[in-house]
Amino acid sequence: MDYTVKTILKLLLTLLILAALGWLFYQISSLITILVISALIAYILDPLATHLEYRGFNRFQATASIFLVLSALVIGFAAFYLPPMVVDLMAFQQRFGDNEATAGLFTGIEKFIKDSIPFLENHELNLQTRALEFMSSASASLYAAAADALSWIATAVIMPFAVFFLLKDGRKLQKNLISLVPNRHFEMILSLNQKLNDQLGGYLRGQFLESAIVAVLSAIAMTILGVPYAVFIGIFAGLLNMIPYVGPFSGGSLAVLVVLLHGGTAELIVSVIIAFAIIQFIDNMILQPLVIAKSVDLHPLLVIIAILIGGQFFGILGMLLAVPVTGMIKVITIEIYNTILKYQNL
C-alpha cells in the first residue's frame, strides 16, 4: 500500500515537473526559436570557419571574417530591397479601394478563371471583396508585427550574438559538456557526439544547399521573366521548399500573386508557373537525390504534422523550423539507438 502511494506521488511529481518544464518552454518559446535558428546557422557555417582555420586563421579571425561578410550581405539586402518594397506595399493598399482600374483587373482575372475552369462559370467569385478582406487582415497583422518592434530589435541583437559565439566556441562548448559525463559513459557519449555532428551537419547542410539552389534558380527565373521582387520571391521559395507539396506551390503562388497585382499578362502567369514547374523538376530529379541523405527521408505525413505542431507553438518561424528540427530528431534518435546497441552487444 505504502509502495503504491509512493509510486503515485513520484508519478505526480514527475508529471508536475514535466508540466512546469513545458510551461517554461512555452513562455520562452520565442527565445528558444531564436536560439534554435542561431544554432542552425552556426552549424551550417561551421565548415566554412574550419576551412578558414585550415587557411591559417585562428578561430576568432575565421568567425569574425564570416560574420563581417554575412552582415554586409544582410544589411545590403535590407537597405536596397526592403524600403522600395514597403513603399510599394503601402501604395497597393491605397490604390486598392474602389479604384476602377483595380475593379477592371479583378473582372479580368475572374473572366480568365471562369474561362479556364468551366464548372465555375455560374459562380459569383467576388475576388475583389475577398482580396480586400485579405489585404486588410494582412495589413492588420503587419501593424501588429510592427508594434512588436521591441521583440524584433531584441531578436536582431540576440541572434547575431548567439550565432557568433556558437560559431566561435561551439566545439569548446561541446567539449566542456562532454567533460561533465561520468567516466563510465564518457567514450560512448564522445563517439555519439561525433556521429551526431557528422550526420546532423550533413543533413542540415544538404537542406540548406537545396534551399539555396532553389532560391537562386527561382530568383534568376523571375528576373528573366521580369517579375518584380525576384530576389524576395526566390528567398521565399527557397525557404518554403523544405515543406513538401505545399512549399513549392506557395512559392509559385506568391510569384503569381505579385504578377497579378502588378497587372501582368496571362502569358506571364503561365510562364511563371512553367518556370516553377521546371525548378521543381530540377529539385526533385537532380538536387534531392544528390544532396539529401536517404536516411533522413521524412514521411510527408510526419512533416505535415510537425509543421502544424511547430506553427501551434512557435508561429510561422516554428513552421519553417519544423522540417529541419524533425529531421534532426530523427537523426539523433537513430544514432542514439545505434550507439546504445553497439555498447550493449558486448
Binding site: 574550419t50 582555420e53 567516466n183 564518457f186 567514450e187 564522445l190 563517439s191 557526439n193
Partner: protein, 177 residues
C-alpha cells in the same frame, strides 16, 4: 610579506603542474615531433579525465575511440574474464592508440590502480586537427604510422621465428615417429 609568499607559492605550483603535463605529452612518441606551440594547442584540445582507485577506464570488447596518456597515477592493463595482468603503466605511458585509426573493440581492459589523471586523445580530435591544422595533424599521423610499422616489423620477425620453430618441431616429431 607572508601573503606575498603565499601568492608566489601558488603561482609557482600552477606553473610547475602545467609544465609537467606538457612534459608528459612531449615524451609520448606520437607527439615527439610537435613544437612547443603545437603542444600547447594540443593540450587545449585533449580531454582531461580523473579516475578513482580501481575505476575502469575502458572495458575489453567495448568500441574504442582513442588513446589515453597517463599524467599521474597507475593503470593496469588486464586481459580476459580472469583479469590476467598484461602490463602496469605509469606516468608518461600511453595506451589505446590503435583506436585512433581503427574504431574497433578494445582488446583489453584498462583499470586505474590508484587516483589517476589521464589525458584522452580521440579520433574526433585527430580528425579536427587534420582539418584545421594539417601540419600538426600530419606530424602526429606520421609518428603513429611509424610506430605501427615498427610494431609490424617486430611482429613479422616474431612470426618468422615461430614459423621456423614450427617447421623444426614438425620435422623433429616426424623423425621421432
Amino acid at each position: 610579506m607572508a601573503e606575498d609568499l603565499f601568492w608566489s607559492n601558488i603561482f609557482r605550483r600552477v606553473e610547475k603542474t602545467e609544465l609537467s603535463t606538457r612534459d608528459v605529452l612531449k615524451t609520448v612518441p606520437i607527439f615527439s615531433d610537435l613544437t612547443k606551440r603545437e603542444l600547447k594547442y594540443l593540450e587545449r584540445i585533449l580531454h582531461k579525465r580523473t579516475y578513482r582507485a580501481d575505476e575502469v577506464v575502458f572495458r575489453e570488447n567495448e568500441p574504442g575511440v582513442g588513446m589515453y596518456i597517463i599524467v599521474s597515477g597507475k593503470v593496469n592493463i588486464l586481459l580476459g574474464k580472469e583479469h590476467k595482468l598484461l602490463a602496469l603503466l605509469s606516468k608518461g605511458d600511453f595506451f589505446g592508440e590503435m583506436a585512433l585509426l581503427l574504431e574497433s573493440p578494445r582488446t583489453a581492459t584498462a583499470q586505474a590502480t590508484e587516483a589517476t589523471e589521464l589525458m584522452g586523445f580521440f579520433q574526433p580530435d585527430l580528425f579536427h586537427l587534420l582539418e584545421t591544422r594539417p601540419k600538426t595533424g600530419n606530424k602526429i599521423l606520421h609518428r603513429l604510422a611509424q610506430m605501427l610499422a615498427e610494431r609490424l616489423k617486430q611482429l613479422n620477425i616474431e612470426n618468422r621465428q615461430l614459423k621456423l620453430r614450427l617447421t623444426q618441431f614438425t620435422a623433429e616429431s616426424g623423425t621421432t615417429r
